[in-house]
C-alpha cells in the first residue's frame, strides 16, 4: 500500500510538472505579451521598453525556470493586468468558484442518485427510459443556452432571481442549475450501471432470498457498493465543474476563478493564466490521487493490477 501511494504521488507530481510546462509554452509562444502590456496607441519604442522592463526579452526556457523556482518558493508572481499579487488574486476568487462547484455537485447528485436508483430498480420500464432520456437531453442542451433560458424565465419574466453577481444565495441558484444539470447524466449512468451490477450479485440475491425488506437491501447493501465508483467520479467531476465554470461565470458575472481565467486569457495575463491552469490541474490531480488511494484501500485488487 505504501509503495502504491508513493508511486501515485510521484506520478501526480510528474503530471503537474508536465502540465505546467505545456501551459507555459503554449501561452508564451502564441503571442506578444509586451504589445498587450503597452496598450492602445503605444509606439514600437514603448513596446520594447515594456519588453525589457518585464524581462520578456529572455529565452522562454529561462523565463519558465525562473517562474517555477519562484512558485516553489511560494511567489506566484504579479498579475500583468491587475498589477496585484497573483496568489491573493486567485485566492480571493476561489470561494465563489468553490461555492458554485460544490453546490452544482450537490445539485447534480440530488438529481442523479434518486434517478439512477429508480432507473436501475425499474430497468427497461418507462421510468428508466424517461430517466435515460433526461440524461441524453441534459447532455444535448448547450449549458450557455440553458443559462440564458433560465435568465429569461426566472429573472426577466418572473423576477424571482437576480441576474448576476454573488451577493446572496439567490445569486447562486441559476448558475448552480445551469452548471450542475450538465454533470448529472454521468452520475446517473454510473449509479444505474453500478446498481444493476450489484443487484444481480450473489450476496444481494441472497439477502433478498432471506426475505430482507427491499428498501433495506437497496440502501444497505446495493447502494453502498454501487456508490464506490461514484465517490471517485465525484472527486473528478468537481475538478471538471471548476474548469467548466468559465462560461457560466461569464454569463452570470460571478466573480470567480472561471471568469478570472476568461479575463486573463483576453488580456494575455500570463502569470494569472498559468496559476489558474496549474491550480485547476493540481485540484484535478489531487482529487484523482485521493480517489485512487481511496479505491485501492476499498478494493485491494486495484493495488496489484
Amino acid at each position: 500500500m505504501a509503495r502504491f501511494v508513493v508511486t501515485r504521488l510521484a506520478l501526480a507530481l510528474a503530471v503537474a510538472l508536465a502540465v505546467s510546462i505545456i501551459a507555459f509554452l503554449l501561452l508564451r509562444l502564441s503571442g506578444d505579451v509586451a504589445t498587450a502590456l503597452a496598450g492602445e496607441g503605444a509606439q514600437q519604442a514603448d513596446i520594447e521598453a515594456v519588453r525589457k522592463i518585464y524581462g520578456l526579452d529572455r529565452p522562454v526556457i529561462v523565463q519558465y525556470g525562473e517562474w517555477l523556482w519562484r512558485v516553489m518558493s511560494g511567489d506566484f508572481g504579479t498579475s500583468l493586468y491587475f498589477k496585484t499579487d497573483v496568489a491573493s488574486l486567485v485566492l480571493s476568487k476561489l470561494p465563489t468558484t468553490l461555492v458554485l462547484g460544490l453546490s452544482s455537485l450537490v445539485f447534480s447528485l440530488l438529481i442523479a442518485i434518486p434517478l439512477g436508483i429508480i432507473a436501475a430498480l425499474y430497468r427497461n420500464s418507462l421510468i428508466d427510459r424517461l430517466a435515460l432520456g433526461l440524461a441524453v437531453i441534459g447532455q444535448a442542451l448547450p449549458n450557455f443556452f440553458f443559462a440564458l433560458l433560465l435568465i429569461m424565465v426566472f429573472s426577466i419574466t418572473l423576477r424571482w432571481l437576480p441576474v448576476s453577481g454573488s451577493g446572496t444565495w439567490k445569486h447562486f441558484v441559476m448558475p448552480t442549475i445551469a452548471l450542475g444539470y450538465y454533470a448529472a447524466p454521468a452520475f446517473m449512468r454510473l449509479i444505474r450501471a453500478g446498481m444493476i451490477e450489484v443487484l444481480s450479485a450473489d450476496y444481494v440475491r441472497t439477502a433478498r432470498a432471506k426475505g430482507l425488506p427491499a428498501r433495506l437491501v437497496i440502501f444497505k447493501h446495493a447502494l453502498r457498493n454501487a456508490i464506490v465508483p461514484v465517490v471517485a467520479l465525484t472527486a473528478v467531476q468537481l475538478g471538471f465543474l471548476l474548469g467548466g465554470s468559465v462560461v457560466i461565470e461569464t454569463i452570470f458575472a460571478l466573480d470567480g476563478l472561471g471568469y478570472l481565467a476568461y479575463q486573463s486569457i483576453a488580456n494575455k495575463d500570463f502569470p494569472v493564466m498559468q496559476v489558474v491552469v496549474l491550480l485547476l490541474s493540481l485540484v484535478y490531480v489531487g482529487l484523482t490521487l485521493m480517489a485512487d488511494i481511496a479505491n485501492a484501500w476499498l478494493d485491494p485488487r486495484i493495488r496489484v493490477a
Binding site: 427497461n124 444535448a140 448547450p142 444493476i196 465508483p229 474548469g243 462560461v247 476568461y262 480517489a291
Partner: protein
Amino acid sequence: MPGLIRASVWHEMTIAAAPSPSAAEDSAATGFAHRAVREPALMIGLALIGVFVTLAVFAQVLATHDPYAQDLTRRTIPPLWYAKGNWDHLLGTDPLGRDYLARLLFGARISLLIGFCVAALAGVIGTVMGLAAGYFGGKVDIAVSFLVTTRLAMPVILVALAVVALIGSSLVVVILVLGLLKWDRFAVVIRSATQQVRSLDYVTAAEAIGASRWRILFGEILPNVAPHLIVVATLEMASAILLEAALSFLGLGVQPPLPSWGLMISEAKAYMFFSFWLIALPGGALAVLILAINLVGDGLRDVLAPDGRG
C-alpha cells in the same frame, strides 16, 4: 507497474463510452443488425442524423437565398408564423438581413464538418496511442498512460480558449485545437479494448506465424476494437460540436461570415430578450443534433453490449 499509472477515472470513461469488452467478440454482423432494429432510440437518432446530413448535403438546393447575401434594409424579419413574417424568408432574416433558413442549412454543414473532423483527428491520435499502449504494454503503456493523465489534468475549455484567443480563430484552428485536445477517451478505451483482444487466439496465432507487428495491430486488432471506436467517435463528435458552440459563444470559435450554429447563437444572444426566435432556432437545431448523435452513441453501446442494459 503499468496498472499503477491508470487512474480510477478511466473506469468511468470506459463505462460511459464503450461496450463491455466481452461484447466485442460475439457481435456478429447479423446479431448486430438484428439488435439495432430493436433499439428505437438508435433508430430515431439515425433517422435524425440522416435528416441533418441530407439538409447539409442539399443545402445549396434547399436554400432559396444565398446565406451570405446581406440586405441592410431587410433586417431581423421574423419567421413566417409571426404577424410580420413573410413568404420570401420562411425563417426570417438575421440582423444583417441574411436569410435565416439558408444560414441554418449551411450551418448544419459547418457543425457536422467540425464534429466529424475533430472526431477523426482525435480518433486517429487516440487510437494509435491506445493500440500501441494496449498491444506493446510495458514502457509504451507507461508513456501513453502518462500522456493521457497529463492531458486529462488540463481543463479543455480553458486551454482551447487560450490557444484560440492567442493565435486567432478560424475553422481550421478550431478543428485542430479541439482535435489535438480530445483524443484522451479514444486512447483510454482503445487501450483497454486492445488489452482484451491481444490475448485472443487469432492474435496469438498471427504472432506465431510471424506476421509483422503493423499487420497484427492494424489488420487483426484494429477491426476487433472498431465497435468501441465508433461509439467513442459519436460521443466525441457531439462533444466537439458543443465545444465549438461554446467557443463561438465566447466569441472565439468559427469566424463570420461562416454560418456556424454556435456563432449564430452567439450573435443572436443580444437579441434574445426581444427577438427570441433568433436564438431559439439555432439553439434548438444544435440541441436536436446533439441529441441525435448521443442517441446513436448510446444505442450503439447498448447494441454492442446487451448485458449493459441488463
